[in-house]
Amino acid sequence: MQRTTMDLWVGLFVVTGIIALMILSLKVGNLNVYNPSHSYVITGNFENIGGLKVRAPVKGAGVVVGRVTDIQFSTQTYDAIVTMSLDSRFTFPKDTFASILTSGLLGEQYIGLAAGGDDVMLKDGDKVMKTNSAMVLEELIGRFLFDKAAKDDSL
């Protein structure tokens, strides 16, 4: 088969396109940081999830260790069941504390994991028993006013 310079240009074009796709997935996206094929799933019941969304990060000491994969409402306990997929490189003790936190003043909400002291580690399908709900501004203000009223009464 005869080769022409046109073939070279087309080959270069295809190579550039593939390189662009790879840059998009590796540099712009986070394909290499978090690989969901090596992960385990844990759940936790939260009284109030605030503005937590599916795909929100799960962080331990500020480092992203997983993502929220599902949020359901339970009609038995009337609270939210949050399913998290964690990287299997990071294991946490059984008595780990999971709380919903906010990054920055107006930032997105994420789940912060604070490790406990148990010897037994969380396995796939386990449930985090200790959870802390998201802060809701109205509740916060309500508690503040209630406190203030109680203090004023005591004076």
């Binding site: 396109g17 662009a20 998009l24 712009v28 996206g29 990060p57 107006l106």
Partner: protein
């Protein structure tokens, strides 16, 4: 007076029926191109030749406009975000808007006016100068020999062009915000990487550009093949290609976005 009203209503009806008729012919033509593309995929040299004309020669306009779109996005995003003290989120803004929407859509619009119009004019002129009829006389199927290679070249090159557009846009945004304005480089990339998801953003953008590639080239080859064999007819067909494919891209983009990103943050 009532005669004029009746004739104008008749005119509207005629136009509606005519456009439905054309849509039917276009669908049948599309199926025919798909059925006859076996030969052109076996003789891949034909497709490579068209890839050169539709893909390689579109690179310049895609690269330059991607760079400038990214630079403008970075500049405008920085202006607004710095009011809230979160100028490091400008990387997220640039990358998400490029990968999800602007990359596929603007690349497809440019592709329609750069390559789609050329395809229509070429096929239309081949028809006007009776080259297609001559091929038919020699028992060479013009759809398999002329139309299908152009169609597949457009379908193949569109996703690559959209990806190149997005990468150049991100680079342009990086250039303006990090190099010229002085946003912190680490937070630019890390915020971008934590916000852009492979499955939801990059893969969906890629799928979008594949859809646009099929739509633009299908419209371009049909308009060319269906053009009245006159100078006026070819010019009208070229205009229709650009107008129709731009509208189809924008409409299709809305539908695809509604399917893909519904329920995602």
């Amino acid at each position: 007076m009532p005669n004029r009203i009746v004739s104008s209503i008749q005119n509207i009806g005629h136009r509606v029926i005519e456009s439905v008729w054309r849509l039917g012919v276009a669908s049948r033509f599309f199926i025919l191109v798909l059925l006859k593309s076996g030969t052109s995929l076996r003789r891949f040299n034909l497709v490579i030749r068209e890839l050169y004309f539709t893909g390689v020669l579109s690179l310049i306009i895609i690269v330059v406009s991607g760079l400038f779109v990214g630079m403008v996005l970075g500049l405008q995003g920085y202006e607004t975000l710095q009011k809230y003290g979160s100028e490091s989120a400008v990387g997220t803004l640039v990358a998400l808007s490029l990968v999800r929407e602007l990359g596929p859509v603007v690349a497809a619009l440019l592709f329609a006016s750069r390559a789609g119009s050329a395809i229509t004019a070429e096929i239309g002129l081949m028809k006007a100068t009776e080259q297609l009829a001559a091929m038919g006389m020699m028992a060479v199927d013009p759809i398999a020999r002329v139309v299908a290679p152009r169609f597949w070249a457009g379908v193949i090159s569109m996703p690559f062009l959209a990806a190149i557009f997005s990468v150049m846009g991100v680079f342009g945004g990086y250039l303006v915000t990090v190099v010229f304005i002085g946003v912190d480089e680490g937070s630019f990339w890390s915020q971008m990487q934590s916000a852009v998801d492979f499955r939801f953003d990059i893969l969906n953008g890629f799928i979008k550009s594949c859809f646009f590639g099929v739509a633009v080239t299908a419209i371009a080859v049909f308009e060319g093949y269906d053009a009245p064999p006159t100078a006026e007819g070819v010019s009208g067909a070229t205009t229709r290609t650009v107008v129709t494919s731009s509208l189809v891209i924008l409409g299709l983009d809305f539908i695809l976005t509604a399917f893909m990103f519904r329920g995602v943050s």
